[in-house]
Symmetry: C2
Subunit: 260 residues, 2 copies
């Protein structure tokens, strides 16, 4: 397929080369930001532009990989020009229907991973969630995805919104727990590196045990002695105290199977 | 050294065999719980007892690896019988001074890891934090630790309490974020396994980038659009809504360097 990328952020920077490797031709990259457009254009050795009206209209597939807040505006400005093309976006939290008013053939292609521009990722293990406007387009997107990954799932927009929500917990919030640990250690001049074996083991464990069963620590048994000590240590950080308390209660509630 | 283990929980089950492998002799295991005492006794092929008054008094080292709530009581009942022995505990959150009234030679030996009885761990990568009542005992504990691990640190009781607090964030709370993600996915009949590549990558990343710099997701840029959508999805779970809100604010606060 002849593909145009609308957007040149972290996800596009990994997805576009992966699609090129799979034998597709990336014919153009658009980004509002010159440096992003140029960088990805150079990686792919293809033309780039920062002007939406300069985007070619003869491609087979247009991949919108942009901020949620500008997605619909860009679609509305561009899609009506190419009534025969297939349009997809890559956003976990945006429904497929953002295309409905502006295109005929469309879908969603959501590779669920945390992408940084500089860190290589292995696409073959990344789950890709697809959804399409018709069975024909669905088949096309499934084939596209299967060239990249062994884990391709069809998922509705509603289910994908819950998937994205749980990814925020499992990735963004878990990472913030590491960041808060680092903050606490920094004040004690203890290097964060000492925490890595513990973090690695915690992550390894949930490959074999469900996270709920793997839960350890003072909150599981609601050990008030330790919990109160920890709240005391956080006495200068009322917001962290609140977070510690809420987390501990939530762990205990889950363990004792009380519903919210 | 001739060593007695007071306690046969998860940590003791890994530490005692590791010390035996390093050439020490485990002469006895005590646990209040018969099955625990027996299991560890059989692993070590050494005598075991559930009666504190039957614990031998001629060992060189007594390792207290018991619940925080019973630690001081057990020390007070046993330690005065062996004025020449060295006493240590393995608790992250208990100060060294729990020994002061009952023993002369004492210290702390805290291997920071999440131990499950059934899962093997590689002691050589686990950081061990030691503290002792005098330079002589400190040297002894450092040597003991260095036989097991390449990462041995001296740390005061106060610093260790902060270390333990940050371990609760990095291990227990991070794991709970996984458990909450699993709960959300379960309701949508999406298997938790789809989350593992994302979790693995999040953990791998902080080996090369600090967790604060690695932070991604809607909260970093306080994307109110997505955050409000997610809060809506959680409308039947007010406690999770509260947690989501607090986490997002904390991420944003850290990113914008506001102090608490």
């Amino acid at each position: 397929m002849r593909i145009v990328f609308i957007g040149a952020g972290n996800l596009a920077t990994h997805l576009a080369p992966a699609l090129a490797c799979a034998g597709h031709e990336i014919v153009q990259v658009y980004s509002r930001t010159l440096s992003s457009a140029q960088t990805l254009g150079e990686i792919l050795q293809c033309p780039f532009t920062t002007t939406l009206t300069d985007v070619v209209v003869h491609a087979d597939l247009y991949v919108f990989s942009v901020k949620d807040s500008v997605l619909e505006t860009l679609i509305s400005q561009f899609a009506p020009k190419c009534p025969k093309a297939l349009f997809i976006h890559t956003a976990g939290s945006m429904p497929m229907c953002v295309f409905s008013n502006y295109a005929i053939r469309f879908g969603v292609f959501y590779p669920m991973q945390t992408f940084s521009k500089t860190k290589q990722v292995d696409f073959s293990i990344i789950p890709i969630f697809v959804e399409a406007s018709s069975p024909e387009e669905l088949k096309q997107l499934q084939q596209l995805a299967q060239y990249l990954s062994e884990h391709v799932y069809e998922l509705s927009s509603v289910q994908r919104s819950y998937l994205h929500l749980s990814a925020v917990f499992a990735c963004n919030f878990a990472n913030h727990c590491y960041a808060l640990a680092q903050e606490i250690l920094k004040e004690q001049r203890i290097p964060f590196e000492v925490m890595l074996p513990l973090i690695d083991e915690t992550t390894e464990k949930i490959h074999v045990v469900s996270p709920c069963d793997a839960q350890t620590g003072p909150a599981v048994r609601y050990d008030k002695n330790i919990i109160d000590k920890h709240l005391d240590l956080l006495c200068n950080y009322p917001k962290l105290q609140e977070l510690y308390q809420l987390m501990s209660e939530s762990i205990y509630r889950q363990k004792t199977n009380k519903t919210d």
